[in-house]
């Protein structure tokens, strides 16, 4: 065994002396005027189901940062106003945040409909802007200080449905036709366009291609018309109330498709997971996170464990797998940029965000010139082995396996989709 020399002991003592004060410094309470981060968030209205979990994740992040000594030694303070899920409220909120509240940094609220109305104000003031779940929000503005926390990437048409179509074309026998059903909304029009484009590239015949309006109540006619078109696979884009209606109708009409799913936002929310139960089996869902071993990045489990008790108290999404990891990432990205730059200079922050990689609770990520993820991460997951309507099964790996992309794959495709039959 190698002994420790007197010189070695001296070096160790010097090292300890240098390290301890640094650690102590990092853990001292932040001081000085707070760094104020301003944004609008949907705490009421149709987007509140995702806005409220986002706020909880932001609060957890702020507590974490302040416990670590704050940002640049100053405490972090969140300043947010309820936009009522209305884009019309957003410009006024950001004007107040920047001109009256004098916030130091701004981030976005949840979803493209809230992000886009904030862009002109943020651009006018030259603020760096990290957004949450915006799809193509910067396509027209091309603002070089915009950064998106959304895995869709900047080439939505070429990449969004790739995982789904690749899975389909790897089946034996290969499918020959596809049906496309989507909600008439900006996000779902873009995703349907991707599926249409990639399906044509793969030589699939498009047997049905219709959008439905947001006011639809009964989805049975849509599913019945899709059945009548006899496609092998079905790509669906929908939001939560419609997703429940579509899957209920699929169950009542005893569908049998080789693959069924897509960006069907709904089972992402715990209440809908519990309601649909076995109807989810073999359904393929675009998602951003699932508690699978291939997605266990540093910090994600503690975040979820801290989020869930708060969510239970505040009556919001119980599991928190959809928005909270992304909302926490939104703030982590800003935090890492500020720390690296060492100031709140907006131009320097944007430069840093473009230049560097960020290590977050959802893994490492980089931004491209449009501020989207340099490498898209459209996860296609499949619910498997769901029994009954209990919540515990959704906490475990293996219930929502990842099929694509290959680097995160945690299970094999099961077919057909029969809506629980």
């Amino acid at each position: 065994m190698e002994g420790i020399s007197r010189r070695g002991l001296g070096r160790l003592a010097l090292g300890v002396a240098a390290t301890v004060p640094a650690t102590a410094r990092a853990q001292t309470a932040p001081s000085g005027p707070p760094i104020r981060i301003g944004y609008s968030m949907s705490l009421s209205g149709g987007l509140a189901g995702n806005g409220r979990p986002a706020i909880i994740a932001h609060r957890i992040w702020a507590d974490d940062v302040n416990a670590r000594g704050g940002l640049l030694g100053r405490p972090v303070e969140l300043v947010h106003y309820d936009d009522q899920s209305s884009g019309a409220q957003v410009p006024g909120i950001y004007t107040k945040l920047i001109d009256v509240d004098k916030v130091d940094l701004v981030v976005s609220g949840y979803a493209t409909a809230i992000i886009a109305p904030a862009m002109p104000i943020v651009m006018q003031r030259n603020m760096t802007f990290v957004s949450l779940f915006g799809t193509g929000a910067n396509n027209d503005f091309k603002y070089d200080r915009y950064f998106s926390i959304n895995p869709a990437g900047s080439k939505v048409k070429e990449t969004f449905a790739k995982g789904f179509i690749d899975l389909a074309m790897a089946m034996d026998p290969r499918p020959r036709s596809i049906a496309l059903v989507n909600l008439d909304s900006d996000f779902h029009q873009r995703t349907a366009e991707s599926a249409r484009y990639l399906a044509r590239q793969a030589g699939l015949r498009i047997a049905y291609d219709r959008a439905y309006p947001p006011s639809t109540v009964d989805f049975a006619p849509i599913i019945r018309a899709v059945q009548a078109a006899r496609p092998d696979i079905v790509f669906v884009g929908s939001y939560p109330p419609d997703t429940a209606g579509l899957l209920r109708a699929a169950s009542e009409l005893r569908v049998n498709f080789q693959m069924f799913g897509g960006p069907m936002i709904g089972p992402h929310i715990t209440a809908q997971k519990l309601q649909l139960g076995p109807i989810l089996n073999n359904l393929i869902i675009w998602d951003v996170y699932a508690p699978e071993p291939t997605l266990q990045f540093p910090g994600i489990r503690p975040l979820i464990e801290r989020y869930q008790p708060i969510a239970a108290k505040e009556n919001v999404d119980a599991l928190g797998y959809y928005v909270p990891p992304m909302a926490y990432t939104q703030m982590q990205v800003l935090e890492q940029a500020v720390k690296r730059v060492g100031s709140l200079d907006q131009a320097a922050l944007a430069k840093d965000l473009h230049a560097n990689q960020f290590d977050t609770v959802i893994g490492p990520l980089r931004f491209d010139e449009l501020g989207e993820w340099a490498e898209d991460r459209n996860l296609y997951t499949q619910y498997q082995g769901v029994q009954g309507n209990g919540i515990e099964q959704f906490r475990k790996a293996g219930t929502q396996v990842i099929l694509a992309p290959e680097r995160f794959k945690s299970g094999e495709l099961r077919k057909p989709y029969t809506a629980g039959a």
């Binding site: 009421s44 189901g49 439905y212 006619p221 429940a244 169950s251 009409l253 919001v316 999404d317 309507n389």
Partner: protein
């Protein structure tokens, strides 16, 4: 059976079932808006309030959601009567019921929605009836009980209400208050008391509609928004103060929407349904069963 014929028949049948839900939602409004001339824009919000209460009670007791909505009707009647007292005192009595009254009910709607978010959260809530996963098959026609049972309850409740309005003294007084409130005074009947009673009934009907809604689909605080246009359209198309017309208009709305969705795509459904409303109003401004002024 020819696939197109099967598609058409299923479109009609599912449209009739959907019409049952619309009828449930519109029947109460037919009383308040059609008979009492109270523009209760918050009617769908009351329906959603009932839906969420039913969902909470279902989670706690496991009782059938439609039975729970039936049990809620007395409380909703009392709530409706109390709201009418306030509305009458501050608006109707002063003759301010037109714009200010409308604003009052807008306010009620927002208060209900925000109160629901604050108390039960913004997420969707659901109540699974024991029959919700059963579908009856008649040849190639599908009859999902998730739609059939709420529609049956709606028709039964509307039938009972129609009998009450036609056969009882109080019911006739409610029908009369819509036509000539001064004539009621000559019979020593207080029109305000009658309107209070009737408005309570309209809100009690919203409770039943709420039970039907939460069986059909999950509900959040804002689920009522997509019904505002439809229920007013149904009441106007059926003819104000005509319950039978309201039911027929609701069924027509459902059938037109679903048959259009089956053959021409769901995007056309609202346009065709509301186009039919415009056509009816062009040829019969008083609605299908309304009396000409």
């Amino acid at each position: 059976m020819d696939p197109d014929l099967a598609l058409l028949l299923n479109g009609i049948v599912s449209g009739l079932l959907l019409g049952g839900l619309y009828a449930a939602a519109a029947a109460g409004l037919s009383v308040s808006f059609g008979m009492l001339d109270v523009v209760n824009i918050a009617h769908p919000a009351f329906m959603v309030l009932a839906s969420l209460l039913v969902a909470l009670l279902w989670a706690a007791t496991g009782l059938d959601p439609l039975l729970l909505s039936l049990l809620l009707t007395p409380a909703f009647w009392a709530l409706g009567a109390a709201i009418y007292v306030v509305y009458h005192h501050f608006f109707e009595r002063r003759g301010d019921e037109a714009i200010q009254g409308l604003a009052f009910f807008f306010g009620i709607m927002f208060i209900i929605e925000v109160a629901l978010v604050m108390t039960v959260g913004p997420d969707q809530h659901f109540a699974d009836a024991s029959y919700a996963n059963i579908t009856w098959r008649l040849g190639e026609i599908d009859l999902p009980l998730r739609m059939l049972v709420p529609a049956a309850l709606a028709f039964a409740a509307i039938g009972a209400l129609a009998l009450f309005l036609r056969r009882t003294f109080t019911g006739r007084a409610i029908a009369a208050v819509a036509q000539d409130r001064d004539a009621l005074r000559l019979l020593a009947i207080d029109p305000v008391r009658i309107k209070r009673l009737a408005f309570g009934i309209s809100i009690a009907m919203a409770a039943l509609a709420g039970g039907a809604l939460v069986v059909v689909q999950p509900v959040d605080a804002w689920s009522g928004h997509i019904f505002i246009g439809r229920v007013f359209a149904v009441v106007i198309m059926g003819g104000l103060s005509s319950l039978g017309g309201c039911v027929l208009a609701a069924l027509a709305f459902g059938v037109v929407e679903n048959v259009t969705a089956s053959f021409y795509g769901p995007s056309w459904s609202p346009a065709v349904a509301f186009g039919c409303l415009l056509l009816v109003l062009a040829f019969r401004p008083q609605g299908l069963f309304g009396r000409a002024a």
